[in-house]
Subunit: 202 residues, 2 copies
Amino acid sequence: MTIQGTGTARPAGRPRSEKAERAIIEATLDLIAEGMGVSELSIEAIASRAGVGKTTIYRRWSNKEDLVVDALATLKAPLPPLAGVSVREDLITLLDAMRADSGNRRGRCVMNIAMSEADRHPRLTERFVERAVEPRRRALREVLERGVATGELRPDLDVTLAMAILSGTMMWQSKWGPGDLPEDLAERVVDMVLAGMAPPAA
Amino acid sequence: MTIQGTGTARPAGRPRSEKAERAIIEATLDLIAEGMGVSELSIEAIASRAGVGKTTIYRRWSNKEDLVVDALATLKAPLPPLAGVSVREDLITLLDAMRADSGNRRGRCVMNIAMSEADRHPRLTERFVERAVEPRRRALREVLERGVATGELRPDLDVTLAMAILSGTMMWQSKWGPGDLPEDLAERVVDMVLAGMAPPAA
């Protein structure tokens, strides 16, 4: 390779190719957020959306699955800071982060990947769960276990089942609830599952 | 059309074409149950799975969406008989039907359609919800409203939110739980949401 001594020198870091990579990642996430399944997603569709040639994609990723894994890896699951004072407040904070996600691209990507494809793309699913699902799941478990330890929750609580109830409810609402989830949804869910549906003991 | 007076007379009802139709419907449901999205599903794939020519399909259905609507219409949501004695028992019966469905083709089709495609195939989604989702949703609402009326449930119960908690939890378990859901799952879910996660009042 020769280096041109004149004109627009190309600085280190290859900004032009980085810009293309970013456009490719964004195009991939946009298509997934719009509901295109991984099986259906094509390098053609991504190239067209990103405004690059297919060769530009293949220069960096040898196949679609690797590209999707890299795209999903950019979707970190930001954990909201937990006050750590009451279990009720921390549960509301965690569930409210799920509610907020249902309105943004990150959330739609996570939902669409979570809801499909698991059997057909096991490696992708594994990476996705590890990156975008596990950190929040771990935080939820820790809060519930702390509640059992402090006596804020029942001593015999089935923590795994409690996690399914809280996460499943929020997922259901994101998928089937009104387009704009009510601001106080997380609080209402937490209060109902804490208190139960049976009437309070007289 | 002439009617042959000899040999294998073709009885009314055109069994040969009915057999082909059945094979086409079955192939469509199999592919959906295996996780193929409606967008990805092709007449070619269905014809190949059903062992018929594409022409045979187009003779009966003018497009893929009509075929999928007809295929999904064969998936009735059988409502389990409800004893109508206690709300707890009826909720367990309804949730246990959801658990049982997670292990069969009907349930996998319902889950895969429910989980995707909604925005991209509104007519299909509408027909599907009306046929496969609404009857159970209505039954669940009736049981909860009865519980409020009889005093088995809190007088101030948010019935819509309670439905989301119960259905969301079972959906979450079907999707993310162990392959074989525990036999007593419905009972455990109902008991936890009835009693709540907070410790019983001392």
